[in-house]
Amino acid sequence: MASWSGRGIAVSCRRVFKETLNYSHANAGVRIIQRFLNAVRAAAVAGLLVLFGGPGMIGPAIADASHITLASTTSIEQSGLFRHLVPMFREETGIDVRVVAVGTGQAFAMARAGDADVLLVHDRDGEERFLAEGYGSDRRDIMHNDFIILGPESDPAGVREAESAIDALQRIAVAEAAFASRGDDSGTHRAERRLWEEVGITPSGRWYRELGSGMGSTLNTAAGMDAYVLSDRASWLSFRNRQALRILFQDDDALLNPYASLRIDRDRHPHLKHELAARWHDWLISGAGQAAIADFVIDGEQPFVPATKP
């Protein structure tokens, strides 16, 4: 490279020298600067072409103003439910739903900042607070599933014999068996903390591992270190890297996991697409929306139960 640059610069020097002989200094400088400006312009044009003239990826997205931004949870995204629901809704209404999947805590934060048109989350207490603070205008139960307690097949804490979810967690704490917590203030993490509160202990120590990641990443880690973990059923059903993880405890009312749709208050954030968001919100609780949720199946199992029986 260096030698090439060296030879190049010698050529340039000669060129500058020749130009200096033939024309004035100023002339040569101007020409060089012009050449440089041309190069800049070419690069800018190329950049714009890449941005807007590509194979139709961005163009339609920008042209199509009829879309809403939905802040929702990683658990629903990973289950594939949105890939099932959104095309149906789009066909019916022409409105596209852009899903940003984050933890429930972050979803609330997004909505508070005015970056989401509508919410689909699972944290009753958080939802109540969101409404009480005046950020939400309408809250509807959409569907539910349940949490399950997963763990290594060998089950060192004896969770299979537990009589309740509380009992199961107590056994894990007593055995000090590795437990992987989401640790990300998501709906699942909040549910897990409520359960520990009911157990009456504050989990800590080497066995309790807060990962600070989404549901799928937490399942990957739990599978890798043979840890117990609380998961929602939908994420588990669509999870493909199970290794020795098995469902060790399920079916307890304490493990109910209800999802709700929340509209954002019009006065708080007047710039949001409230009309379009309302149509999505209403569609979810309509017969068509509820039937679409009931139709969604992973490996023969229905991960989400609609709030109203169609």
Partner: protein
């Protein structure tokens, strides 16, 4: 799309030319190439100016540019997020969760790399040829385009390093793009998503496709520069 072997999966992905994947690949290239183009247009002259001119605080600028090469993508993403959020200063532009936001974040990541490398390259050249250029009456300002042009093959490596960083990062585009299916999902965020779904063969398959893509861009740049050198020589 799930298979046991990541290489077989990658091959399948390429052969199938699944429209969703083609869209993701196209968006990845658009976002990263645009970011690199914008960053290069701004950073190359800036690097040269810093190389040639002596001004107060120059040492801090040089050290700053070098340090910013290590700017964590998550931090760059967070900064752009806070800037573009409705609650932020540029919120009214409505750019959050769009490809444009991703371009801005990646430009921020690529800019210091190209600026720092071009500063070094131009400074070395200047040391070697300053007398020659000065004797011809070229001022420092006039020397900039000449030096940049003559260092173009070395600078190309810097630009490619910038492209490597842009196409490889996941932290920034995930935060400012939101990984929205069909709108802001690029290769790296798709890989992260499939990993979190536990579909490791598909994730690795996508990773192999991304690697091939980066290799393709690099080879193209290499070929072009070889061609140019031959013509020059």
């Amino acid at each position: 799309m799930t298979g046991g072997n990541p290489f077989a999966t990658a091959l399948e992905l390429i052969l199938e030319r699944d429209p969703v994947l083609v869209g993701i690949v196209g968006l990845s290239l658009q976002v990263s190439l645009t970011a690199v183009a914008i960053a290069a247009v701004l950073a190359l002259p800036l690097g040269a100016v810093v190389a040639l001119f002596r001004f107060p605080g120059r040492g801090i600028v040089v050290a700053g540019l070098n340090a910013l090469m290590g700017l964590p993508p998550v931090v760059a993403g967070l900064m752009v997020y806070l800037l573009l959020s409705r609650a932020g200063p540029l919120g009214s532009w409505g750019l959050l969760f769009t490809p444009t936001a991703m371009v801005i974040a990646q430009t921020l990541l690529v800019f210091p790399i190209i600026a720092a490398l071009s500063r070094q390259v131009v400074e070395d050249l200047w040391e070697e040829y300053s007398e020659q250029l000065r004797s011809l009456g070229a001022s420092r300002l006039r020397a900039i385009p000449t030096l940049l042009w003559d260092a173009r093959f070395s600078l190309l490596t810097g630009v490619l390093a910038g492209f490597g960083r842009a196409s490889a990062e996941v932290g920034a585009v995930l935060i400012v793009g939101g990984n929205i299916d069909g709108v802001t999902r690029v290769m790296t965020t798709a890989i992260a998503l499939e990993t979190s779904r536990g579909d490791l063969p598909l994730a690795l398959g996508l990773g192999i496709v991304l690697l091939l893509l980066v290799m393709l861009v690099n080879s193209a740049a290499h070929l072009v520069s070889e061609q140019a050198k031959r013509r020059l020589g």
